[in-house]
Amino acid sequence: MWFSRGLGSLNGVITIDGLVKRRGKTEILSGVGFQALPGRVTGFLGPNGAGKSSTLRILLGLDRAQQGTALVNGVPFVSLADPVRTVGAVLDGSGAHRSRTGRAHLRWVARSAGLPLSRIDEVLELVGLADAGSKRVGRYSLGMGRRLALATALLGDPPVLVLDEPLNGLDPEGIRFIRTFLRERAESGRTVLLSSHLMGELAETVDDVVVIDRGRIVAQGTLAEVTGAHRSLEEAFFALVSR
């Protein structure tokens, strides 16, 4: 099991602290910090352009911050000994070349981590793409591409999942699938961090909420704490963010 690997209390914990990111003269992130814990779904919410994707990209080692740290299990992502078995990442799109088949895409990812190729059919089955594995990614619908990205993230059965706008492009059935799936992951003790700009869709899925607006964290806590006296998370959100 993942928690028997040592690293003690930091296992499965995402710790982001004091991130500052500038692009040219604009400051995209101004000291972003929060934690995501095992056994909980953490919703990272904010309007478009608030800095959600930038934060997650820094966490995943895709972009660099000018200041601050983003750690998984207490270490920066790029220093993880076995990234595929530690963190699964779902970013926008499919993350796959369109002229490869879904199965060929999963094959090279499996090879990069020395995973058994039998995992490919397992994850395709898990996300409901069992029949589409031999199709080229270019012929996938938007929702199928998103499912392939999720399948890729699950190849190494990681204790931590990071998802950027996982509900984008999904039909109602897909949204329901993702919600149920993420709840199950958290209930089995794993860490789930997801970003979204859709408050209504998430209120039933998340345990903890972090709200970002214009590069700053404006609220964080449990769902009940952040919702506070407001009627819903959505109302609390609009009270918190400036427009």
Binding site: D63, V87, G93, S112
Partner: protein
Amino acid sequence: MIRAELSKLLSLPATWVTLGWTLAVNVLLTFVIAVGGSAVAYSQAGFVVLGALATCSEYTGGQIRTTLTVMPRRVHQLTAKYIALVALTVPAALVVALSGTVITMAVLGSWAVPWEVAEVTAYVTLVTLLGAAVGALVRHTLAAVALVIGYLFVVTPLVQDTVFAGDVVTLAFWTPAFLGIALFVHRLRDA
């Protein structure tokens, strides 16, 4: 990581289309020109495309994000890609070099020395890697191909006998230099 990068190269249809056309054109040109070495002067363009594809195909469909989240040590990852590309290119380059030699011998009855085969193979491999390095820098297949082919077909004839001449000796210097610059830039920039 090398296996992952090789797996990527081999499962990309464009790789096989490029290699197929390059070999076919090379054989055809060798018959037309009937001088072993010189067909490579044209078919090297196919290898530039192969090299550029290897690095630029990462930027289609956001695959680079997958690559860097599963292989976050970027210098290791890109080096693995270079090695995988050499593993694919050397056999293809050998075929090109040998087909030229064999056809020339058959048509003209002259003997080509093994040294020539080695030189052509080395040259073609260096050209492929140059395509890959420039591809990694500009991240756009067409732009990378245009730059490298422009250099090989337009610039080099004008600058013979200088350090920019595109022969196997100058390429043995410039290609590693560009491979190194590409590694450095790849490591530092936001993906």
